[in-house]
């Protein structure tokens, strides 16, 4: 069969992937730089084709709670936003994690804090990977570095969400969301039928048949000992996720003396920086994170025994670098380089940072 190729924005690829993955519902609220997601969906009108619900909510708060309602019915539900909007969603995300519901959340990160800028940033790493809302919980966080991965990670994200009954976040940024690239589209999958959902999600609140007891979706337990038991169960789940779902890409790490650690747009910039450094005879490799949680600690620790140092490159004041340091456990120098507030580092700046902070340091 001939490949279905299309030139599209990252945000459009997410929307197209949602339709094609057989998603049941999207709820969103406009915010730059990700409004193309809902605009694209409204143009495609999947509610007339696949039957997917698309609704513009009155706020990000309402949108994430709509995701809660649909997810609790066993539906494939998603939302998307950008940093300030994701902050508003944190209450709902915490409830979703606490009720162990599967869902997909896209964050097309922009510079902060506050209203910040509308330009690309990676300054929401802490929020995405360390919990974000209240209570002890984790999201599975996927970091696409291309428009193709924006498309591919929707289906992957839904698969992981349902596998673990856990919210999954795609943490993108304003570059990946807005830039256009060639995308190979996957086939249109049919939406699951009610009987498929009942089988896959016996916990779902779809109306209590006489054959089972009533299903309750809640995150409340007034008995502290029970709540602790539940917390321990979550910890076990996150442990399994850490063991089984780490994803990363090693680029020229076999002979590398220096490692650039990066994800998303920064990883793309590091590719050029690596070429410039290798042209100078400096052996540089890249560890590109694909999952931000679970974090690829093991491979970084292994590499730490072989290389002379790591440079964590991220468009933030230094967030991911803390996890790199924890993984490397002082076996090699770890430094951070980043541009802030929506500024994008040039490959030359990355070269200079490695030379000054690690090689010369």
């Amino acid at each position: 069969m001939e490949k279905e190729l299309r030139l599209m924005k990252g945000n459009e690829a997410i929307a197209e992937a949602a339709i094609r993955s057989g998603a049941d519902a999207y709820f969103g609220y406009p915010i730059t730089p990700q409004s193309e997601v809902i605009e694209y969906l409204m143009l495609q009108k999947p509610y007339e084709t696949t039957g997917m619900v698309v609704l513009q909510a009155e706020s990000e708060v309402a949108a994430i709670n709509m995701v809660y309602g649909a997810a609790a019915c066993g539906r494939m539900a998603m939302t998307s936003s950008s940093s300030p909007g994701i902050s508003l969603k944190q209450e709902g995300i915490s409830y979703i994690a606490g009720a162990e519901l599967p869902c997909l959340i896209l964050n097309v990160v922009r510079g902060g804090p506050g209203l910040g800028t509308i330009q690309p940033s990676q300054s929401d790493y802490f929020q995405s990977t360390k919990g974000g809302g209240h209570g002890d919980y984790r999201l599975i966080v996927l970091a696409p570095a291309s428009v193709q991965e924006m498309f591919d990670f929707v289906e992957l994200g839904f698969d992981l969400a349902f596998k673990y009954r856990n919210p999954v976040m795609i943490q993108s940024d304003g570059i990946i969301g807005q830039m256009m690239e060639k995308v190979e589209l996957g086939p249109q999958k049919p939406r699951r039928k009610p009987e498929d959902i009942a089988k896959q999600c016996p916990w779902a609140t779809t109306g209590k048949p006489v054959t089972r007891g009533h299903n309750i979706i809640t995150s409340l337990d007034l008995v502290a000992a029970n709540q602790e038991k539940f917390n321990l169960k979550l910890i076990e789940k996150y442990k399994t996720i850490r063991e089984k779902e780490v994803r990363y890409e090693l680029i020229n790490c076999d002979d590398a003396e220096y490692i650039l650690v990066a994800y998303g747009s920064s990883a793309r910039l590091c590719m050029k920086a690596m070429d410039l450094l290798r042209a100078k005879g400096i052996k540089v490799g890249i560890v590109r994170l694909i999952t931000l949680f679970p974090f690829p600690s093991k491979i970084l620790n292994e590499l730490a025994g072989k290389v002379k140092g790591f440079l964590a490159v991220e468009m933030s004041a230094g967030q991911m670098v803390e996890d790199v340091e924890l993984a490397v456990k002082c076996k090699a120098p770890v430094e951070h380089f980043g541009r802030l507030g929506g500024m994008i580092p040039s490959p030359e700046e990355i070269v200079e940072a490695l030379e000054q902070k690690i090689i010369g340091g």
Partner: protein, 262 residues
């Protein structure tokens, strides 16, 4: 007249009331004298009478009725504080053939969830909203609610609600009735048998409206909170009649999409 013994009274033929099969065996967590238990029962009875137990999904709020899911033998979701109408919106949108209701208190519906309430109503979501208004935050221990009456004391307005400082109580039901997406709005109470019958009729009408795809049916139940009001159950009901009803008058406000109240 000979004495009737208990064993005679509990005979099947003497049975005049039975708990709805849509309620579970769990003991209600409400204070004695509270209207919540009666309101729960009415919802359960309507679901039973309409034979829609397997087709109904309820959404409980944050507040005294947060544990409604333990008492109703139907599938239920517990929503974040104030977000029940957004949650219910999604349930109904992904399963339009089901019956969906929210059950919310005044703090949940008319303070923290005002945006979700108004927008779900304005969109005309085809759901039933049951709103218990007792003018106080019961579960957190009697703080001022958006519906606390002027002059009425609460733990965060211990000298009575001073509207100059604390603002006015919100008649959200009248406000909701103005919205195009809302088909049926009524204000009821459950403090006398007559009122209980009337409230049940209203709840039934609301669920029947869902069958007809009419948009939002909104039922306010003005209720007591004897613990929060610091009154005995009997005195609380009397206080409610004398103080709450003049400010929140009972009766239909909007029927079949038309405003009917003066």
């Amino acid at each position: 007249m000979s004495e009737i013994e208990l064993k005679d009274i509990i005979k099947k033929e003497n049975l005049v009331y039975e708990r709805s099969k849509v309620m579970t065996d769990n003991v209600l967590s409400f204070c004695p004298g509270c209207g919540h238990g009666t309101a729960h029962r009415l919802v359960a009875e309507v679901i039973e009478e309409m034979d829609i137990q397997s087709e109904t999904i309820g959404v409980s709020p944050v507040g005294c009725s947060v544990l409604m899911y333990n008492f109703m033998d139907i599938d239920m979701q517990q929503a974040a504080h104030g977000r029940a109408p957004a949650v219910a919106t999604a349930i109904k949108r992904v399963m339009p053939e089901k019956f969906v209701f929210t059950y919310q208190g005044d703090g949940d519906l008319a303070a923290i969830g005002t945006a979700e309430t108004i927008h779900a109503c304005n969109r005309g979501e085809n759901i039933t909203i049951i709103f218990i208004n007792n003018g106080i935050y019961g579960m957190t221990g009697g703080q001022m609610a958006p519906t606390t009456l002027p002059g009425m004391p609460a733990s965060t307005c211990p000298f009575g609600r001073d509207v100059e400082i604390m603002g006015n109580p919100l008649k959200i039901t009248e406000l909701i009735s103005q919205l195009a997406g809302v088909y049926y709005v009524t204000r009821q109470s459950v403090h006398t048998p007559r009122n209980v019958r009337s409230a049940k009729k209203a709840i039934k009408k609301a669920f029947e409206n869902q069958k007809l795809n009419r948009g939002v049916s909104f039922i306010e139940i003005v209720s007591n909170c004897n613990s929060g009001w610091k009154l005995s159950p009997v005195a609380a009901n009397k206080w409610m009649e004398e103080n709450m009803f003049p400010f929140y008058p009972l009766g239909d406000i909007k029927v079949d999409g038309e405003i009917v109240s003066k």
